[in-house]
Symmetry: C2
Subunit: 281 residues, 2 copies
Amino acid sequence: MDTIVEGVHFPAGTDAADVGYRALAVNLSDLAAMGAQPSWMTLSLSLPQANEQWLGGFAQGLFGLADAYQVALIGGDTVRGPLVVTVQVAGLVDTGWLTRSGARPGDLLFISGVPGEAAAGLAMVQGGRNQTPAEQHLRQRFLRPTPRVTLGNALRGLASAAMDVSDGVLVDLEKLCGASGCAARLDVDALPASTAMQALFSNDDCVHYALAGGDDYEIMFTLPAAHVRELSVVTDGGPVCTRIGVITEGRGVECSRQGRPFVMRQRGYDHFAQGKDRGTT
Amino acid sequence: MDTIVEGVHFPAGTDAADVGYRALAVNLSDLAAMGAQPSWMTLSLSLPQANEQWLGGFAQGLFGLADAYQVALIGGDTVRGPLVVTVQVAGLVDTGWLTRSGARPGDLLFISGVPGEAAAGLAMVQGGRNQTPAEQHLRQRFLRPTPRVTLGNALRGLASAAMDVSDGVLVDLEKLCGASGCAARLDVDALPASTAMQALFSNDDCVHYALAGGDDYEIMFTLPAAHVRELSVVTDGGPVCTRIGVITEGRGVECSRQGRPFVMRQRGYDHFAQGKDRGTT
């Protein structure tokens, strides 16, 4: 169950179809990270007025994605209020679902796709930048995150732990380590490069977006070393999965960059931090 | 799944415990009207800031009611935003669940409790009236509606149709008739009397609240005449159930009062009507 609020999780004035897509995509991402097959959903829609055009766009975005994953809408509620969308998706999994708590020292740390592009895309949206292919690519990464359902299913039986990255790689990795009772070393230089981001941002900004950006909805997972070969088979045709670190004994996350310890200024998204709205324009 | 919004479904400044209670109660009421046994819930909480005192009160109201019906919280989401609460409750029913669509001409129309008291209670809350026992009684009817779970369960196998009254008896009866493909005659004089309301309002206002007030969360149900005797047995110890009309052939709802046709000015709650906020103070 995920809730998205206008002005907090997406900018005011976001296209209705993108809002509908997003409301479901963030939930599918949660299920993907558990290796579950999404099955049905309920929808609560609070909106300021019954605007048919807006609702048509919203439905297009929502059901376009729902149909792609054969998710049926089975109920919900519609009320008048601020623009707030809550979707709950139920998924099914036979056995061996993935959790955050199974990582063990020695496991390798992977991430799918290119973390940081979504947060950079939000900056494009907020700045009204929509000219170059790089700008357009990043916008889409924010507005239309791809839920990694197929990857999540493939990781069942292979990965020792998994979660989707919504608040930022660093903060979410700390959560995974906390749940698993271990620590991690993250190699900043190993983070996948984004051609679009490198065209628009300094190296330091790219690293900041990648580690602290949030909204990626990629899957971060840990893999016992014995399973690395199988990974390339099961992820064939899916998103690139990049090894970015290793699970260790202890607590917390240590980052290194060019052989030296690396400390971020701002580490990730805190839902109740002041003055840190995502999406307020 | 039901969503309640501050300033729309409850007044700004409503006690946190009452908000928590309400968020669950309105859902239990839905399940009650289907004859289902509530089992587990998910909670989405959007709130402006992480206020521990508020959260403590909210949890007290929510879990006090959840524990009473043995409903477990299994997941959810917490985000920053306007005060909006969405609860989804799953309920279980073996067979013979109640729907809105089973009413047939000749069935008798019943309602539990005293419709109208909740809407009158909202007027007390909005007017800051909390002095006399009548005022206090009505406030509680709005703030702490009783989900009719036991009654709903007892009606399985007896009632031909049922629904909970959230938008007003008249509007909701029209929905039930629409779903069942029939009409209804409602006897205004048969509506249960409220001592508290009669102490504070004219007869006309009492009728208006009873028919158009909303927020009652009583169960309106239809009963084949052959089952009337059993009703008094299964409802023993529960809320009073009053016969207020009959299902007929045709479409729509006709009201009569003292033998004459009766027409309401304002018929019930429309979620998107302008200037009809409930709860805005």
